[in-house]
Amino acid sequence: MKKSNIGFWAFVLPSFVFFVLVVMIPAVWGLGYSLTDWNGISKEVHFVGVQNYIRIFSQDKDFFHAFTFTAVFALAAVIGVNVIGFLLALLVTSKAKCTTFMRGAFFMPNLIGGILLGFTWQFIFVQAFGAIANATGWKFFANWLSDTKTSFWGLLILVIWQLAGYMMVIYIAQIQNIPDSIIEAAEIDGASYFQRLKHIVLPLVAPAFTIGLFLSLTTCFKLYDQNLALTNGGPFNSTEMLALNIYNSAFKYNELGLAQAKAVIFLVTVAAIGLTQLYFSKKREVEM
């Protein structure tokens, strides 16, 4: 018994030590810091109770804006990413030729880091769109990233472009799990393509929708690199998302205690999304 305990810890500890040091200790410590006036410079840190939280809820308009912007953005992106991802999955599992090339093209943006993608799209929106506007005279294409509305759309296009291929891969796996015999039987019975889609494919792909929806939702909530590289929150902080707002509070304004309190609110939001997902996937398992 004693010996097997030593063995147990010898195998668990190499991973668990780093995990506790890097994730668990700072997470607990962070809760404490959110109750202080820590500014990162002065050695003295004072306990201020829930004052940071009160400040956030009563007067921090930027945080409130970042929160609602993130929520609205995430909602739009989740719909866009999953609808397009699913349609792409239908396309590449159809009778079309060259589907390997198509899959490769649709999935590739997903592999490239957010910083590189953000700068790439900055070039497209500023320079390429500018060139189109000059050539055609269409004002629609001019100054995309200096307008609050089109900046939102720009960020949305970037994220949909990056994540749609990811969702496609998930949906392909699920579509390919559908037995051919079911589809063939429906075909023989005279079901049209859209009838088959509605009554066979959609219900059988439903479990993957739960995964796809929540995965894209948490990704959009945590978005940072793309936000920083494409707009850096601009123009006039209009596209500043939660993660960037927290980073700026901490390192631009040196209000680390306040930033930590925002991070705790962020944690509660993201954890709530995660637990909702867990609830739904457990419920589905029971049903199945």
Binding site: S4, G7, F8, F11, V12, P14, S15, F16, F18, F19, V22, V23, M24, I25, P26, G30, L91, V92, K95, A96, K97, C98, M102, R103, A105, F106, M108, P109, N110, L111, G113, G114, I115, L116, F119, T120, F123, I124, Q127, A128, A131, I132, A135, W161, G165, Y166, V169, I170, I172, A173, K222, Y224, I246, Y247, A263, L267, V270, A271, G274, L275
Partner: protein
């Protein structure tokens, strides 16, 4: 009936190819402009470089400004070291957590699983302070942090896989006189190869592309990773699109080559990670 099939196949193929080109177009536009001088970029972004406008001089300059070889080696070293250690440590941990059916191992596994809900921003400030106190604000500190942040998903994936590995083989090995280490490294580890590939791909992708951690941890020029260097480079030369386009293309190249070489494994790994994670 047959004719109708041919037509729909053709239509779907055309739609698909048009969409593929549309998806690739931002990168293609970037690539084509990286071969033009700044003047020609401003003249017309959408024109392809022709015999008069084609130039290769952006690349050597961006190469030097990015300190490309060193940034690449930093990224590569950090990614490989973190991934290899994650594979080793997390497969070990997951194995005993599955095989020891106790309350303790259950609790440890639940802690790993619960931690996936914690967003990075929530631990970032105390963590940076902790690392500063430990004098770990360097590349080793970065590897250490990736070991911590990568372990949740890795342990979960290994845990799920090992549950389906029959225990009889290990029992036979133990009867033949293998100790725990021999059993794990000689018998179990070789069986984990499929999930190893998945875990390795998932971890190396996010570690390679990670920007925020290096931004917080690395303040010495010689230690910067490729994403961090790109960001700083871009801050310096943001109006110099000739250098910027060439730099961006160069930074994308390693990942695109990796993708072309191991597309099948990557796609499988990403799908598995999403569904089981």
């Amino acid at each position: 009936m047959k004719k109708k099939n041919v037509i729909s196949t053709a239509i779907l193929t055309i739609i698909g190819i048009v969409l593929s080109v549309l998806f690739l177009s931002p990168i293609l536009i970037l690539l084509s402009n990286s071969f033009k001088s700044l003047k020609n970029i401003y003249l017309n972004v959408l024109a392809l470089p022709n015999a008069d406008t084609f130039t290769l001089k952006n690349y050597p300059e961006a190469f030097v400004k990015l300190d490309f070889i060193r940034s690449l080696l930093n990224s590569l070293g950090i990614t490989v070291a973190s991934t290899v250690l994650l594979l080793l440590f997390c497969s070990m941990a997951a194995w005993v957590l599955v095989r020891h059916k106790t309350k303790l191992s259950n609790t440890i596994f639940m802690i790993y699983a619960a931690a996936t809900l914690i967003p990075f921003q929530c631990v970032m400030l105390p963590l940076v302070r902790l690392m500063d106190t430990l004098h770990m604000m360097n590349r080793w500190g970065l590897v250490l942090m990736y070991l911590g942040f990568g372990s949740s998903l890795s342990v979960i994936l290994f845990h799920g896989f090992i549950k389906s590995v029959p225990v009889e083989l290990e029992e036979a090995a133990r009867i033949d006189g293998c100790n725990m280490f021999q059993t794990f490294f000689l018998i179990v580890l070789p069986l984990l190869k499929p999930i190893m590939v998945t875990v390795a791909i998932l971890n190396s992708m996010w570690i390679w592309n990670d920007f925020l951690l290096p931004q917080l941890m690395i303040n010495k020029p010689g230690w910067q990773t490729l994403p961090l260097k790109t960001f700083l480079f871009f801050g310096q030369f943001s109006k110099k699109w000739d250098l910027a386009t060439a730099g961006l293309v160069m930074c994308m190249l390693p990942i695109i080559i990796f993708y072309l070489v191991s597309q099948k494994h990557i796609v499988k790994g990403v799908a598995e990670g999403a569904i089981k994670g």
